[in-house]
């Protein structure tokens, strides 16, 4: 028996939906965010619709059952049922959506807000556009000295940062589970790998309180390190972050 096209289309859509949930939530153990899933499904449905309607016959076959339902006198009973059921379903869905829940509202917080043009720290003003890591030059010029600086940076990291950012720099330190926003994972391709060193300097020196408006709400637990570390120590720990993760700071000069 040939499955009606409408049923096929619905089957494909439901199948893909179930596939997403199955793969992400169960097999991979990382839930798929509902906001993303609804966006995915919207375009999956559009795609299915496109495939099923690009020829005349296929489009006609697809809508034939719907047309019959509305127009065919012999289907009066089903029609009445459907015409009652659909508004009820819509009403139920709307009610569900509108009724208040205990879930806190979703926040569109940007994790990497734009840095200000200049930053005040250590009683000085730094121009972030031109600020450079003063130790970076040793990487080529004096490799031994550079290794020494990285090692010192590592000590600073272990003494100060690993509680939150983790001893593997993966954002899973002992305190991490209790914090929201969570300490960032420096191993991820989306954090320090795409930032310049001056950005890191700004974030480390001024911490959560130094975040600009768009990073509201200001609930980040990142401490203000200019109160505890010297300028040099911050530059050294930055060297360490890149060295340990094997990433390069973003820069526009090709090497």
């Amino acid at each position: 028996m040939k499955i009606p096209r409408l049923l096929q289309a619905v089957g494909v859509i439901v199948g893909i939906y179930a596939g997403f949930v199955l793969v992400f939530d169960y097999l991979l153990g990382q839930v798929i965010p509902s906001s993303l899933l609804s966006m995915y499904m919207f375009f999956v449905i559009a795609g299915v619709f496109m495939v099923y309607t690009f020829t005349e016959e296929s489009a006609r076959e697809l809508v034939a059952p719907i047309k019959a339902l509305v127009e065919d006198p012999s289907k009066k009973r089903i029609r009445n049922v459907v015409f009652i059921l659909i508004p009820l379903l819509v009403a139920g869905f709307t009610y569900q959506r509108m009724s208040p829940s205990f879930e806190a509202p979703v926040e569109l917080r940007s994790i990497h807000p734009a840095p200000p043009a200049t930053v005040k720290a250590y009683g000085k003003r730094y121009d972030l556009a031109t600020l450079k890591n003063p130790f970076r030059k040793y990487e080529k010029a004096k490799p031994e000295k550079f290794r020494e600086l990285v090692r010192e940076g590592g000590d600073i990291y272990i003494q100060n940062c690993q509680y939150c950012h983790g001893d593997k720099l993966d954002g899973r330190g002992p305190y991490a589970a209790g914090l929201n926003p969570t300490p960032l994972n420096f191993q991820d391709v989306g954090t320090i790998a795409q930032l310049q060193e001056s950005f890191l300097f700004w974030r480390i020196a001024t911490g959560g309180p130094g975040l600009p408006k768009e990073a509201a709400p200001w609930i980040s637990s990142m401490p203000v390190w200019q109160d505890f570390l010297t300028e040099e120590e911050i530059w050294k720990v930055i060297l360490f972050l890149y060295d340990y993760t094997g990433r390069r700071p973003r820069s526009w000069e090709h090497e």
């Binding site: 798929i32 979703v106 556009a129």
Partner: protein, 617 residues
């Protein structure tokens, strides 16, 4: 091209004279452009400065304003007024600058093939743009007035720096109008032999002037983003060329030229769809179907390289200022980029859908139907990757379940290498849709047809593997510098495949046998709505991205030089911005429908014989 030598009777001589005049006009334009005081090189200008003495002292630093310096009108939000006027002006300008570009090409094709249909189509395209042209000018005037009215200090500052280019801009507008009217109203007059060449040259001149106009306006806009030729206090050095040739000028120039063509194509596509849907006779349907197909072809051809131009522009913005770059892609505006990605995907989807529907014009296309679902799977799949955001919108429960804002598997899809890979794949498969479409009603008769097919399959397979390899390897196993670098070989791979496979196809199907005739006009109404969707999505997209481009200056009129102290100097929330742009889109669409309608009205006639007195015999 074979053009018969013109018989040299009196008439053609006159035309020749006219041609000479046109040529001289063009030459004059060239000389004018070269001798613009502001446009010559900095060195020459420096020499001039030395002659006239220290001229620089006459320039003032950028004014430091307070909210009181901005005039207000009760009940009018000055920012939204300027915003809408600028946006509407830009939409129309993009359209009227783009149409002559492809009208010129279509006219040339018509001359080459001696197929009158091309000439008629080109004429119809330009006819649509004529009314739009006056809208462009009116809206440009409105924008200027609003700027003078609501932002007098900004306008004064800008005009002190760009005085030359603004002056010549205004003059060039005369030339633009004159050429356009001559081109349009002279269409039927300048036909055949030498006259046609004169007409084509007019088209070229029209395009040259139009492009020059846009480049000048771009200079003002990009100066506000990446000022040059001024010191940190905003004191102008007197070097107008430096201010024009600022950091983002060329990236914007390139991006806008390509985008305008795609946009213009989509708008005339909507026009054809409009006419198709309202046509009653089958010849008319056939004509507008054919016109819509060509418009869509233009739009898509320009759409394919557009993501790369956009990528170049973004990279340059990053290079100009990390702060601007992060505001753009990582900060508040990042959410708009998700909408952008969705809209660009919509463009690709509707363009593909239109092609697939169009295969129904020939009965031969049935052979390819079974492949369409695979195309759809890949294109939709690539599209999902393309719009997966870097920072996911998570409910608290999901946040807890994931243990942080990063998703182990979806996170890596959020960064540029994944998106570049996806967009290259999307472009390649759209090309494949095209190839299928072209083959729909033909069978290759050349002896090497199967070898040719094998080569094409090999080409696509190798290219796709290469794009994947580059994306995965450079995206996830090397550092950021190479991430950026990887996009270039990816693009080159894509371009190579497109060019080579189109070339192979062209040879393979030379003198091919027709399986079934192509019935223009035999296409579903649904496909025409896809053309509408294309135009609307384009308009909306341009509005949103234009807002971002302008918005990343944040509270500056001129970045880091001239502060915006007006009460409106805040960065609006996403909903607010999207609403303004949506209202603009609706206004624009309403005006465009008016333009379509008015183009139609001129050919309508109402017989009212009884109304008029019968003339005395």
């Amino acid at each position: 091209m074979m053009i018969k030598p013109p018989a040299s009777n009196g008439k053609t001589r006159r035309v020749r004279k006219a041609g000479l005049v046109v040529f001289c006009l063009g030459l004059l334009l060239g000389v004018l452009a070269l001798s613009l005081p502001g446009l010559d090189s900095g060195i020459a200008h420096a020499a001039e400065l030395a002659d006239t003495g220290a001229d620089t002292a006459t320039y003032q630093p950028a004014p430091k304003l307070t909210a009181a310096d901005y005039p207000t009108i009760k009940g009018v939000n000055s920012r939204i007024a300027v915003w809408l006027a600028a946006q509407l002006h830009l939409w129309f300008a993009a359209f009227v600058l783009a149409v002559p570009i492809f009208v010129f090409i279509i006219e040339a094709i018509g001359m080459g093939t001696r197929d009158k249909r091309y000439d008629n189509m080109a004429y119809e395209f330009i006819k649509v743009s004529i009314t739009a042209y006056s809208f462009t000018a009116i809206l440009g005037g409105l924008l200027t007035f609003l700027l003078v009215l609501f932002y007098p200090h900004l306008f004064q500052y800008m005009s002190s720096i760009f005085k030359e280019s603004m002056f010549y801009y205004a003059l060039l507008f005369f030339l633009e109008s004159a050429t356009l009217y001559l081109y349009y109203y002279g269409w039927h007059w300048l036909q055949g032999g030498f006259r046609k060449w004169v007409h084509l040259s007019l088209g070229l001149l029209l395009n040259a002037v139009g492009t020059l106009l846009m480049f000048l306006a771009n200079a003002w806009v990009t100066f506000m983003m990446s000022p040059a030729g001024v010191d940190p206090a905003g004191v102008f050095s007197g070097d107008a060329w430096a201010a024009i040739h600022n950091f983002l000028w060329n990236p914007i120039n390139i991006h806008r030229v390509i985008a305008n063509i795609a946009y213009g194509g989509s708008i005339v596509g909507a026009y054809a769809a409009f006419k198709f849907l309202s046509a009653r006779k089958s010849e008319q349907r056939a004509h507008y179907d054919w016109m819509g197909y060509n418009a869509n072809f233009i739009a898509i051809s320009a759409l394919l390289p557009l993501p790369f131009a956009g990528y170049y522009l973004t990279a340059e913005i990053y290079a100009y200022s990390q702060q601007m770059g992060i505001t753009l892609m990582g900060g508040v505006f990042a959410w708009l980029f998700i909408i952008q990605a969705v809209l660009i995907g919509t463009l690709f989807l509707s363009a593909n859908y239109y092609l697939w529907c169009g295969m129904g014009r020939s009965d031969g296309a049935v052979r390819y139907h079974k492949y369409i679902k695979y195309l759809a799977i890949v294109i939709v799949g690539a599209f999902l990757v393309w719009f997966t955001p870097h920072t996911l919108v998570l409910t608290n429960e999901e946040l807890k379940a994931l243990g942080g804002p990063y998703h182990k598997y979806l996170g890596p899809l959020g960064i540029m290498p994944a998106k570049n890979t996806a967009v290259n794949i999307m472009i390649l498969f759209t090309t494949l849709s095209f190839i299928f479409y072209r083959r729909a009603n033909k069978v290759a008769t050349v002896s090497w047809a199967s070898a040719g097919n094998a080569i094409q399959i090999a080409l696509f397979t190798a290219g796709i593997l290469n794009i994947f390899f580059l994306g995965v390897y450079h995206g996830y196993f090397t550092n950021t510098v190479y991430k950026v670098a990887a996009s270039i070989p990816q693009v080159l791979t894509t371009l190579t495949i497109i060019v080579t496979s189109t070339a192979i196809d062209a040879f393979m199907y030379r003198g091919a046998k027709q399986v079934a005739p192509l019935h223009w006009g035999r296409v579903s109404d649904r496909s025409q709505y896809a053309l509408f969707l294309l135009a609307v999505a384009f308009t909306w997209l341009m509005g949103l991205m234009g807002y971002i481009r302008s918005g990343i200056r944040q509270h500056w009129h001129v970045t880091n030089v001239f502060r915006d102290a007006s009460p409106d100097a805040f960065t609006p929330g996403l909903g607010y911005a999207a609403n303004v742009v949506s209202v603009g889109t609706i206004l624009f669409m309403a005006m465009v429908i008016f333009v379509f309608w008015i183009a139609d009205v001129s050919s309508r006639k109402t017989a009212a014989d009884a109304y008029w007195k019968t003339p005395p015999a």
